[in-house]
Symmetry: C2
Subunit: 188 residues, 2 copies
Amino acid sequence: MDKLLIDNIRKHISISDDELDQLSPYFQSTSVDKKKFLLQQGDICRFEGFVLDGCFRIFSYDQKGNDNTLYFAAKDWWLMDNDSFLNQLPSELNMQALEDSTVLLIKRDDKMMLYEKMPIVEKLFRVMSQKALVAWQRRLIRNHCETAKERYTHFIQTYPDIASKIKDKQLASYLGIRHEFLSKIKKQ
Amino acid sequence: MDKLLIDNIRKHISISDDELDQLSPYFQSTSVDKKKFLLQQGDICRFEGFVLDGCFRIFSYDQKGNDNTLYFAAKDWWLMDNDSFLNQLPSELNMQALEDSTVLLIKRDDKMMLYEKMPIVEKLFRVMSQKALVAWQRRLIRNHCETAKERYTHFIQTYPDIASKIKDKQLASYLGIRHEFLSKIKKQ
DNA sequence: TTAAAGAATTGAACAAGTTCAACTTTTTAT
DNA sequence: ATAAAAAGTTGAACTTGTTCAATTCTTTAA
């Protein structure tokens, strides 16, 4: 298994080399060309992924056709559509590569099997989900109490690596503002 | 164990009566008087709770002293501060009873022990966290693509039971708007 | 390498939401 | 039952962010 994924997993839980070896065969390395979609709205999500290299944008479309960026996933981030993966319903999300990328994919069936056979896998994703929950709660709060400019500054300071890979239009849709307004913010 | 909690758990996972019996002793029924705090900013969170009756508001204060409502927990909802509970750091949250309430509390030490001894407990909270994640993602998207009025309408239609128990001021802070503006929205 | 498409910038008019202050209504504590 | 405190309402002036349209700069594809 790739060192980057091992380190990522070990940020969350203690796990033996043996256990990692058991997991390893279920992660398949895959290339995704720039602009290609790993998942598209309407698909049923049958995988989860970990980004080894490159960058993805995860977004949905609202009624008016505006796209809304849920998050970006660069190197060392996970790609998941919890809703579609868990409930096997058509996804509302798109996962698009912003540059040529490499991901490790695990199939839903394999992951479900691992949940059954290896309690530590339950633990890993329980911990990851709880941490992610905290991050989403903080992001919502920031949306309520900070101005667009403050949110912009926070983003580029917190994720400079991602900021450098994305278009301002995409960043605006992540921040929840129009790109014209982001342009005006930047001018100041 | 209370029927309400059993039904809640069985919404998420399949679990035998025996297993539920094993969990049961760790949930302690507690009364919380109206206006009392189950958790206060600065406390280290050493419990998680399930609301049997009543209603709580979970909120934090920003720099300016404005309070920001993260969520409401009425009957059949869980009370958690994942950040403080997981990392044992001082909490940024307040959990205040909006009316006389009854909760089932599980202590952190007991829960951690159950995670170790009963893999199904890992599974329960893994599933619950993943579902919660989806809900938080949707809420954020709604904040981006809907107006305050639309969010208000969505809230009272989705949670009429909660809407009836809370003050407009508290609802405004959940929606991310000033209460004066909520008042203007309602006039229309 | 050039044409076409997409991304970024700018300004002017506009809409959504805030602030502040004064006032009324409801709730709470004694 | 009453006084005090908290919650809700309203209006006027203001700020933040949007919309639309025109223009420029950058990237992409043939």
